[in-house]
Point group: C2
Amino acid sequence: MSDPLTERTVFVISDSTGITAETFSHSVLSQFQQFQFNAVRIPFVDTVEKAQEVAERISACAQESGSKPLVFSTLVDPRIARIIGAAECNFFDLFGAFVRHIERALGVKSSRSVGRSHSNVTSEQYNARIDAINFSLAHDDGQFVSGLDQADVILVGVSRCGKTPTSLYLAMQYAVKVANFPLIPEDFERGTLPSTLAPYRKKLFGLSIHPERLAEVRNERRPNSTYASLEQSIYEITEAERLMRIEGIPWLSTTNRSIEEISTKILNEVGLNRRSY
Amino acid sequence: MSDPLTERTVFVISDSTGITAETFSHSVLSQFQQFQFNAVRIPFVDTVEKAQEVAERISACAQESGSKPLVFSTLVDPRIARIIGAAECNFFDLFGAFVRHIERALGVKSSRSVGRSHSNVTSEQYNARIDAINFSLAHDDGQFVSGLDQADVILVGVSRCGKTPTSLYLAMQYAVKVANFPLIPEDFERGTLPSTLAPYRKKLFGLSIHPERLAEVRNERRPNSTYASLEQSIYEITEAERLMRIEGIPWLSTTNRSIEEISTKILNEVGLNRRSY
């Protein structure tokens, strides 16, 4: 029997969404698995008054729980950061820790403008994301084959191997236009890719999955069907991997990988891991 | 005429996906708008050999460009971090800067295990995300009304005001089940919410948008239609906002807001800004 996890409260505080501080706290705290961290995100803390309220809430939590909460913040305004830091807590000020060093490296002062990261989106960037999401929705599961020439990436793989979430994630986070196309028993019998895809071979990327996991996922959708049987899963996966090998399509297994990991590997393979900001 | 932006290369290095370091670098560098940062993400740097290759690449970039690149990293292994830090660069080591302080605050040593943040997903967490994405897809645009009782949030608003991307973002990032339902001229003539939604009033959240922006977005889809006219946009938005006010539905405008900001405000309003990890 393993020991029960010790619970700790984490506050994630930002003058904007708090997504950066949340991502960081989640990432660094994954190194402390003896604990269960209960995180409370408090976004849009952009005035002294709001900061004072939040500081009181943090100190009250310290009193109640008997342990100082961990506080992760991306507060641009040092006055607001000081108010939060003065609460009864362990304060981790992400911007404070780095901004001065970055100023020195770049030889200029930072603009100290609140809420820049997510609010300063240009209409162009916004439109690119929305276009990519709409593209991925319209080209999900091979449903719409015209316009494939506009795809940055075309994912192929058997039904339920993770194509749709991966397509949507890449569109949402990176404005990458991703179509996805199922590989079906008909393709395996013929032994070649669907002819629709032939002109786009360089854009193809394959996803695969352990047959046991595939059967599990399919059973949730259509319990006890032939489609969801382990036998069918083994057949489809064996054939799909054989086809991808023959056709020289790069592919990876989605089993035990998060959507983030799968997407990162795809961006890396297709050379789309560069961004300007 | 404004000065041209100074370009700087940024490397984002991680033993895992690099998403944390990328999010942070993007966020903190938005405070330095005199520069255009060209970011190169190098994920999965988890061996000394790979680190040495990357360090050489960074130093070569410094030589070629005549300025030291900024390097943001979330490297768990201090040996690997040291190799990168020894390259010709300004090195910002996110874990290094905080891990010791967090160890002191928690009274334990970190596990220093590589790739924890995204790879250690439990099958439960993965399934919850996939379920939420499938739910949002199935309940997009009011297309499927059964199962609305399972929704955490039901977004309402006129066509093209941003419901679909917001629904998908909340499902993808927070495993929140979000249905979305269009408000259409029929509803405005009747002057009440669609009867399907009546039982779920507490789950409703409204989105609105400036009529000018709405007309712009609709024109991209159906140029020069009545649907996309400014007149129609003004009519629908006026009526939709009136209906939401009468029905007491909380709502916000999506104009000039990123998907992240909209989603954060919704999570905040409906009290879903707590997570355990």
